[in-house]
């Protein structure tokens, strides 16, 4: 079972994972998208956000998430910073 990046969050993460896994396989894939694991997720996320701040990962993550990972058009690709600016060769 995989651990959280923040050691102290691993237990709550694994409780959440167990909840999500059963929801995903038994509900979501069968057409029932009613949320079931929100309480566990909020607790887990509270712990995780503290860890990300401590490790100074919060800004890195926020920057990365500015890009829309699923653009329906190519419009957003030009604004993704320098990463694609030299893609001509």
């Amino acid at each position: 079972m995989s651990s959280s990046i923040g050691e102290k969050c691993t237990q709550i993460k694994q409780e959440y994972d167990a909840c999500f896994n059963s929801w995903y396989s038994e509900k979501f894939l069968k057409g029932d998208a009613t949320p079931k694991c929100d309480d566990l997720f909020f607790k887990y996320k509270e712990c995780l956000m503290k860890t990300l701040e401590e490790k100074k990962l919060d800004t890195l993550l926020a920057d990365a998430r500015k890009d829309n990972p699923f653009p329906n058009s190519a419009a957003s690709s030009a604004s993704s910073g320098s990463s694609s600016s030299e893609s001509s060769k």
Binding site: G6, A18, F20, P35, F41, K45, L48, A64, S83
Partner: protein, 190 residues
């Protein structure tokens, strides 16, 4: 400079199980370098019914000797964004590294769909882009290293998924014959 990579493969497992295995895929014997995996955000779009997830994955890196001067800390953080549409039976995942991006940025998109020739199988289309902004003549070397490493890792990732899928299949077989034993063998995961 940028290099592209494209590949289509399949799993002899149903789409439902493959997408489920995607969530369970760490840890597995082929991904010992993955030391942590967290869900940053997850929600179902109330209009489309699509499940959208953002995960953060921490990998312990191993660098070639010539790379050690470029990167002090070889740990790599990977962001993984995904969408699962149960209506169209499509899962799209997109991953990229968050740090070390000046040395190398790897962006990978995978699309999981029902196999066009066999509805009990799953087709996986992989597209990747490897970019390096390094100067001083290192880019070619970095990208050649990057693409080789990427292909090695793709093979490992595939083996990891196959391993998890086989375990799911065994659990299902066990559940049919001995439900209590199957429950005990259940493997919740990342």
């Amino acid at each position: 400079m940028v290099k592209f990579y494209q590949h289509t493969s399949s799993f002899e497992h149903a789409w439902d199980n493959v997408t489920y295995a995607f969530w369970l895929r760490y840890p597995n014997p082929f991904a010992s370098h993955v030391v942590g995996c967290d869900v940053i955000d997850r929600q179902v779009d109330p209009v489309t019914g699509v499940l959208r997830t953002t995960r953060l994955i921490l990998k312990q890196g191993v660098l070639p000797r010539w790379g050690r001067g470029l990167i002090k800390n070889p740990d790599a953080y990977i962001i993984e964004e995904s969408e699962v549409d149960p209506q169209t039976q499509t899962m799209v995942t997109r991953t990229k590294n968050l740090n070390h991006v000046r040395v190398m940025q790897v962006e990978e998109t995978q699309t999981f769909t029902v196999h066009p020739e066999n509805p009990k199988w799953t087709q996986v289309k992989t597209e990747a882009r490897i970019i390096s902004e390094l100067k001083w003549g290192l880019t070619g070397r970095v990208e050649a290293f990057g693409i080789n490493k990427f292909m090695d890792n793709s093979v490992k990732a595939r083996k990891g998924m196959a391993h998890i899928l086989e375990r799911l299949r065994q659990n299902a077989a066990l559940a049919a014959s001995a439900p209590a034993a199957a429950a005990a063998a259940a493997t919740p995961d990342c």
